[in-house]
């Protein structure tokens, strides 16, 4: 009897713990709860430098407020928000991921396009394979690394290939643009296709080579307010800062285009 009771109690306690673990897991991705004065921004990884700067000036302009930033790949962020992560603002690196949130009725109002980005060829500073045009990337022996077609930069790469009429034979198709850039910086790859803004961020470690066909695949960055946000007023203020003239200036300085 006693034995059975203890066993049952043990099992129940274990299940209880497991259940409480399960119930707190959705919140694990986000920061603090949206108390008054805090705005949580989920932004695409490529916005790291610009949004960090904009968040600082937002906090300066609104004393007592705090901007919490979470940077990751756009599709990861969409997954987190769909699973209940406490985001107030979402800034995506492409319209596709913003549409996913809109389709799931997780947005408040219409998203706003605030920046554009185009691809550029990145080569190591010494340019060992003497790449000077998009057509050079298809030459035999040139090790090219691109994004996989499943991710936004890879979709843009496919469009550009079609526009240029050149089919690339990449040695690797990475799942993020930072991985492509990393392989160019380390000199493993002779060239990579990344965004203009990535080349700018990398500084002197890589050389950027613009090409005409890049205009065929312009990536648009939309920003929107998450429907479950408890601080929509502050969220809207941040969105206006990003889409307004101050945001535009910071973004253009980083290499982004105007939508």
């Amino acid at each position: 009897m006693r034995n059975a009771f203890r066993k049952a109690a043990a099992l129940l306690a274990a299940l209880g713990l497991a259940a409480s673990l399960a119930s707190c897991s959705p919140a694990a991705g986000g920061g603090t709860n949206t108390t008054a004065g805090t705005v949580t921004v989920y932004a695409a990884a490529s916005l790291k430098t610009t949004f960090t700067e904009l968040a600082a000036s937002f906090e300066a302009a609104h004393p007592g407020t705090k901007v919490t930033l979470n940077f990751a790949g756009s599709s990861d962020l969409v997954t987190q928000i769909t699973q209940g992560a406490p985001a107030d603002v979402f800034a995506s690196a492409d319209t596709k991921n913003m549409t996913k949130l809109a389709d799931a009725s997780l947005l408040d109002g219409e998203p706003k396009d605030f920046a554009t980005n185009v691809l550029e060829i990145a080569v190591p500073a010494a340019n060992p394979a003497s790449v000077s045009s998009f057509a050079d990337l298809a030459k035999p022996g040139v090790k090219v690394v691109v994004c996989a077609p499943q991710v936004p930069c890879g979709a843009a790469t496919e469009k550009v290939e079609k526009a240029a009429g050149t089919t690339l034979k990449p040695v690797s198709e990475e799942s993020s643009v930072t991985d492509v850039l990393g392989k160019v910086i380390s000199g493993e790859a002779d060239a990579g296709l990344v965004y203009v803004t990535d080349v700018k961020t990398a500084g002197s470690k890589v050389k950027g080579i613009p090409f005409a066909e890049a205009d065929q695949a312009v990536n648009t960055y939309p920003i929107g307010i998450v429907g479950s946000s408890k601080n929509k007023e502050l969220a809207r203020a941040f969105m206006e800062l990003v889409a307004g003239s101050e945001g535009r200036k910071v973004l253009v300085d980083a290499g982004f285009g105007a939508p």
Partner: protein
């Protein structure tokens, strides 16, 4: 005294005196609670994943060309890296277990390092060793050998993270086995190589087998070092974990289906090999 009894005593010098006794199980009842929590903690996420599988699409998802390529590549590279681990890990474990020398503790610490290192760090380290601009990579490139973005790079990344598993298992088995039988064989006139082949290796075979299985399993799951060091190209470097990571971006159903496939393969590998040698592995 049977070897296995002595082995279990030698293996755990600080176990309680009645821990390995006859008939006494030695598990206080209150231990079952944390044990149950521990078991649930491991199993619940797998159950949660099972619940997410889109069964209607499961077969087409796991039999797509990309999935089959990834699975085949994973099995091939893991087998290759297990061989690499055996070739270098067995001698390493022998040296660590049998001959005390200056710097042995330091060497052991270095060998075990990949166990605690985040795999991405391992990937970066490998990059600076075998990459085109790396320590050895430059020489290799002059010799016409290119490792970057090749299947060889995948095997290297896997062997790097899997080697400690083999060395730890085997070193433990060697210490447990002791060198009594080896000494006897030697006094009877057997040379060191004969002793290794006829006495030591048969004695530690269960430990060697479980070490090899663990290495294989670890290789199968390798992700971070491969992603950093080898790249990702279908059929060449995109192993199953990399394929899952990529599919997750576009098609969550495919990612879950492939995850289940990987779990099934891992369970099959570990389950199969832990059953065969029987009690000895557990000892």
């Amino acid at each position: 005294m049977t070897p296995s009894l002595r082995a279990s005593r030698d293996a755990s010098p600080n176990a309680s005196p009645d821990g390995g006794g006859h008939g006494y199980s030695g598990v206080p009842r209150w231990l079952y609670l944390p044990a149950a929590v521990g078991a649930l903690f491991v199993m619940l996420p797998l159950v949660a994943m099972l619940a997410k599988v889109n069964w209607g699409q499961f077969i087409p998802l796991v039999t797509s060309a990309a999935s089959l390529d990834a699975l085949g590549l994973s099995l091939r590279t893991s087998a290759a890296s297990t061989v690499v681990c055996l070739v270098f890990g067995v001698p390493l474990a022998m040296v660590l277990a049998r001959r005390p020398f200056r710097g042995q503790r330091l060497l052991r610490a270095f060998v075990l390092l990949p166990l605690v290192l985040p795999p991405v760090v391992g990937g970066i380290a490998l990059l600076y060793t075998f990459g085109r601009q790396g320590l050895l990579g430059k020489t290799l490139e002059l010799a016409g050998i290119q490792i970057a973005f090749s299947t060889t790079a995948v095997v290297l990344a896997q062997a790097f993270v899997a080697l400690p598993f083999l060395v730890v298992s085997l070193e433990g088995a060697l210490r447990t086995a002791g060198n009594r039988y080896e000494t006897v064989a030697a006094t009877l006139g057997a040379g060191p190589t004969t002793v290794l082949r006829r006495v030591t290796l048969p004695l530690v075979m269960p430990g060697l087998a479980s070490g090899a299985v663990l290495s294989f399993a670890r290789s199968l799951g390798e992700f971070g070092a491969t992603l950093t060091f080898a790249g990702s190209l279908q059929g060449v470097t995109r192993t199953l974990p990399l394929e899952i990571y990529l599919q997750r971006e576009a098609d969550a159903d495919a990612a879950v289906a492939l995850s289940l496939l990987l779990v099934a393969v891992a369970v099959a590998v570990v389950g199969l090999s832990y059953r065969k040698p029987g009690r000895q592995v557990a000892a």
